[in-house]
């Protein structure tokens, strides 16, 4: 299976690897997947309470190259977006950007779920209305 250059770049030089303080009120954490399934993705966002914009995003992922690239790309896209804009990120956009092969589409689904999980965590923590709809997956 040949991977796209973009995917390989995100795999070899993953962006925004790391950990934000999950106890901080401005941080939302999404943890999705399961070790038994071979994928665990943790995606975190730092939200500016004034502007509701995402100022920072970090990830750590246990998984295949496509899972790592999908989460790396997601963090890149999240930075600078408002929470509402972030919620609009669709897994198929990740599939297209990285040219994921069909057997790897679940990696992009996981990334979308991780984004939604992080936003939901942030909203719940801050007593905001939860605008995350259940993911379609």
């Amino acid at each position: 299976m040949a991977y796209s250059d973009k995917l390989l770049d995100h795999f070899k030089n993953p962006r925004n690897v790391g950990t934000l303080d999950k106890n901080s009120t401005g941080v939302g954490t999404g943890l999705v997947g399961a070790p038994e399934c071979g994928d665990v993705m943790r995606l975190q966002i730092q939200v500016d309470p004034e502007t509701q914009k995402i100022t920072d995003a970090k990830f750590k992922t246990f998984g295949c190259g496509s899972a790592i690239a999908s989460s790396s790309l997601a963090t890149e896209w999240l930075k600078g977006k408002s929470v509402d804009e972030a919620l609009a990120i669709d897994n198929m956009a990740i599939v297209e950007e990285l040219a994921l092969p069909p057997v790897k589409i679940h990696c992009s689904v996981l990334a979308e779920d991780a984004i939604k999980g992080a936003i939901k965590d942030y909203q719940e923590k801050n007593g905001l209305e939860v605008t995350v709809t259940e993911s379609a997956h």
């Binding site: 795999f11 993953p14 690897v17 950990t19 943890l31 999705v32 997947g33 399961a34 070790p35 038994e36 399934c37 071979g38 994928d39 665990v40 993705m41 943790r42 750590k60 992922t61 246990f62 998984g63 295949c64 190259g65 899972a67 790592i68 057997v103 679940h106 689904v109 996981l110 779920d113 997956h137």
Partner: protein, 406 residues
């Protein structure tokens, strides 16, 4: 790239030994004959070459050349043995015993037999990957016609207690078949001495060409027969029709001759290199575990799980330079991790974290040194990226987390 690929996937397939390639070449153009053409020199030359190869192969496993049936490979040989015995011995019984860690060629042939009214017992293995002799003996009934247990496992290299299984089968008058694909040509394999009546193996796992394999079928005490699975010209004593792959068979024969001469030396050298690789990785990387028995194991194989790292992702860190396999689901079309490793009692997470290193005749010490370094770097890199590694390091009980299955 320029750099030579380090090939540690010899359980998938071996490079064809240049000496085998050389032996094959005259049988493409110079000697074009069909081994079944009995009336001209081209046919005689082909037949002679096949006879020689049959002797070389028989000699490697210490059987009569007439007991070698050529096929297209081990998958066909497994199918022919299992389905062929099921049909041939239908009057005697319909029960087959095998193990959960067998190759898919055996398991799926057994599934087909079940659809046709057969009954199959799948023996479990212990954490070492070994079947229980007591469980085997207890599973034998008066309907049992065949026990099919692989000689050595493709993923772990674990060698089953063949002689003891042979004794049990002999005591109960049951045929004993073995998929010996990973063992023949690498360690001494003597089906007669072991009590094996049918044995599948293939050329391309022992430095011969792909596309040719064999089934050993015992001729005397007992005389074993299998029902052919393909209709045609009645080649191979009626058990396997189809024009013989003469160049392939010649290469297979040459590979068998070389294996007989060099197997012991190869095994001694490779087990040292394998141990160096295994010990090097275990020393450098905490939370690494060898899968399967280390005592009853092929000399050139080690299967290691690196906890909290996913195998396919790990392989991507070095797969431009090193070729090997993972028990992770993601390397295959299915999303299930290796059923062989799961059968050993590994959790799915450890099965996803495994790499199989299978060395071969052309592996060098430099290859091993480079592999230790690149795999260790890869594991460390992937652990830096792994949220479960971080949790583990923080002392979080990972098993207590409610994961979202997807």
């Amino acid at each position: 790239m320029g750099q030579r690929l380090i090939y540690l996937d010899n359980n998938a397939t071996t490079p064809t030994d240049p000496r085998a390639v050389e032996a094959m070449i005259p049988y493409f153009y110079e000697n074009p004959g069909n081994a079944a053409s009995r009336n001209h020199p081209a046919g005689w030359a082909a037949e002679g070459a096949v006879d020689t190869a049959r002797e070389q192969i028989a000699d490697l496993i210490n059987v009569d050349p007439r007991e070698i049936i050529f096929t297209s490979g081990a998958t066909e040989s497994d199918n022919l043995a299992i389905k062929g015995v099921f049909e041939m011995y239908a009057r005697k019984g319909n029960h087959i015993i095998t193990a959960t860690t067998e190759h898919k060629a055996v398991l799926d042939a057994c599934k087909k037999v079940e659809k046709k009214g057969g009954e199959v017992t799948y023996l479990e293995v212990d954490s070492e990957g070994l079947i229980s002799l007591e469980a085997l003996e207890a599973a034998i009934t008066d309907k049992t016609i065949l026990v099919s247990i692989m000689w050595a496992n493709n993923e772990t290299g674990v060698i089953q207690p063949m002689k003891e299984i042979g004794e049990i089968c002999a005591r109960h008058g049951v045929l004993f078949m073995s998929d010996a694909t990973q063992a023949v040509g690498k360690i001494p394999v003597d089906p007669k001495e072991t009590g094996v009546h049918l044995m599948a193996f293939t050329s391309h796992k022992m430095y011969g060409p792909k596309g040719v394999g064999a089934l050993f079928v015992n001729r005397k005490n007992p005389r074993v027969k299998v029902t052919s699975q393909m209709d045609g010209g009645g080649h191979e004593r009626g058990m396997r029709s189809g024009t013989l792959n003469v160049p392939g068979i010649v290469g297979f024969g040459k590979a068998a001759e070389i294996a007989k001469a060099e197997m012991h030396e190869d095994a001694a050298r490779l087990s040292k290199l394998r141990d160096k690789l295994q010990n090097g990785l275990l020393e450098l990387l905490e939370e690494s575990y060898v899968n399967g028995s280390q005592e009853h194991r092929m000399p050139h194989v080690t299967n290691i799980s690196f906890k909290h790292v996913e195998g396919e992702g790990l392989m991507m860190t070095f797969n431009q330079n090193i070729a090997l396999s993972s028990g992770s689901a993601c390397t295959s079309a299915s999303l299930e991790p290796s059923y062989v490793l799961v059968a050993l009692g590994l959790g799915d997470d450890l099965a996803h974290s495994s790499l199989r290193f299978s060395l071969g005749r052309f592996t060098t010490e430099e290859d091993i040194d480079a592999t230790i370094k690149q795999v260790a770097d890869g594991v460390n890199h992937m652990r830096e990226l792994s949220p479960i590694w971080e949790m583990y390091k923080e002392g979080v009980d990972i098993d207590a987390i409610e994961w979202t299955e997807h």
